[in-house]
Symmetry: C2
Subunit: 350 residues, 2 copies
């Protein structure tokens, strides 16, 4: 890679000082430059294919126009991909770039996503939580003590100075519940994984609240024994989840819904559960309704209608970017805890 032309080269070519070149190229408000030299400079810049050196600018201005995104591992789960896409959208509209990190520390004092900001190579952090859990306490502390702009996604750190964007899992479940109960269901079976994440608690609570509004109805919970493995990259682990679902479906779900009345429903935490359930019910028990609280990594392929309510990850990512940029600009925030309402429940025909 050959040496790039600098502001000096332009200055030399036009016969002015580097300062003048800088003023023209930056459209500096204070300085009026005669139209003649102005044009000459712009032409020379074009001719030399001048591009300002970003490292020099970052050093001088102490601004890199770049943001660090921390994402633990798996990019193959649709949630993370969608969230990241939303962040990209939000940053792009403001001209910010994105550095991607995992949680690794590489032997440094801090994990790289913090290190990058301390190095002035990035101006803030968007932290994407893996399973609703907060960043480590020592990370939070160094973010706070260094006053680093920060937004947590899909988590909710205890320190109220830390901004976050979270998704209203409770409301999603609540709305699905109300819809089903409003349509006449008396019993709802909630099929959830055994993982003890906040998300699952919220969903279950949302259903419970919906049921409370409809006296005489009940929510039954069936728990799939599944602890997350965090490597969705592999088809085999996907298929393990599938195996588990099938097994649990036969042993527990099907027997339970055998005596369900028409209009009663099963609400599935995951898309994959809904899909298996739908194929299992293929010929029989057609009158039992199926709902899903996420699309999962996989499209729903059932031969039936499924009521679905999904978190709006794309929008949430955009909001996270906006929230971070406001911090970077030093704006005071009326509210640094944004909660994203879910999509309205809708039936999908497949």
């Amino acid at each position: 890679m050959k040496a790039r032309p600098t502001i000096k080269d332009i200055a030399a070519q036009v016969g002015v000082s580097p300062s003048t070149v800088s003023y023209v190229l930056n459209d500096s408000a204070n300085h009026k430059i005669s139209e003649g030299t102005r044009q000459a400079i712009l032409q020379a810049a074009k001719a030399l294919q001048y591009i300002p050196n970003g490292a020099a600018r970052a050093l001088r201005n102490n601004s890199s126009h770049c943001v660090s995104v921390a994402l633990e591992k798996t990019l193959t789960q649709a949630r993370f991909g969608t969230l990241l896409q939303g962040i990209r959208n939000g940053l792009r509209s403001e001209g910010y770039w994105l550095m991607l990190f995992d949680f690794d520390s590489r032997g440094q004092l801090y994990p790289e996503f913090i290190e990058s900001v301390l190095q002035s190579r990035s101006e803030g952090i968007i932290y994407i939580s893996s399973d609703g859990s907060d960043p480590e306490p020592e990370w939070r502390e160094s973010i706070l003590s260094n006053h680093l702009p920060f937004v947590g996604c899909d988590c909710c750190p205890p320190e109220e100075e830390l901004a976050s964007v979270s998704f209203d899992y409770e409301r999603g479940a609540f709305e699905v519940g109300c819809r089903l109960l409003g349509e006449g269901a008396r019993r709802i079976l909630y099929w959830r994984p055994s993982v003890q994440t906040d998300q699952e608690q919220y969903r279950q609570e949302g259903l419970r609240q919906a049921s409370a509004l409809y006296p005489g109805t009940e929510v039954i919970v069936s728990t799939l024994p599944y602890e997350s493995a965090e490597d969705g990259a592999d088809v085999f682990s996907h298929s393990q989840v599938s195996q588990l679902c099938k097994q649990h479906l036969v042993q527990d779900i099907i027997p339970r819904i055998a005596q369900f009345q028409p209009g009663d429903a099963v609400v599935c935490a995951w898309g994959v559960m809904a899909r298996h359930l739908a194929s299992a019910l293929n010929g029989t028990l057609r009158s039992v309704k199926i709902a899903s609280l996420s699309a999962g990594e996989t499209p729903l392929l059932a031969e039936s209608r499924v009521l679905i309510s999904r978190p709006r990850f794309l929008y949430g990512g955009e909001e996270a970017a906006r929230l971070l940029l406001r911090q970077i600009r030093g704006e005071t925030l009326a509210n640094n805890r944004i909660v994203i309402p879910p999509e309205s429940p809708q039936y999908i025909e497949l």
Copy 2:
């Protein structure tokens, strides 16, 4: 964010010159510093929580230790997620960071992934192709004329100076074909989408070659009318693909294989095809074998055995990172066109 301590602060505290501090902190080989001052400097650095300013280093050394990755859109397709994960692995082991770009130009002369290198904020480019297509000609030209370190993933630019990592789709199909034919198949139906990508050509050719090794056998091709939409983010577009598959399955695939003999096989380009086919054959035609040339974004959920051969995207991503870093270091490359062999075909029980 408060001002960070600099090398000057350390120098002042210890009572030496900034140069000395720099020598110590960098373990400079030429300079021998007395153990006393050495320790004092290291302690002061620790006490002040000194972190070198990356922007200043980048300016001075003309090296950012960062690489630009260009990825057009969708992070939700497993291929891209896996590839990106591999790149992260490869870069991390060398201490390089990663900036993520799409193909947008934001009104600049160059797309941002090129601009970032020209700005000295990144040292090279890994370009992830969307559908096997090469980067635009004007991009390739500016990469070449500026001698930017570059590796294309899953594509094969015509200029031989441009390095690339590609996946041996032909061989994957060939091996699957040989396996099936070796097991006694006389006829193979290849079910592919109508998109005219190199990948599809290669796969078809691979099957043809396998068949040529087994006289008396034949490969029949059935083409699903599908042109890519490039927004896998949405569940609805996934379900459109599903609809298409189902329809085509009934209209074309099932009738064709009705007279297949036991051992004959259908090879599917996509995992989603294989899945639909497997459910369609659920009770009947059990003796027809099913194979898939990709896992797709979705796990295979069929109730049957599927022979599968997948491109090794994770490994390919790692190789791309290595190849780029070698260019950045100025090493001369014996071979700048790496072709990644596929996984050996294997039956998966589901």
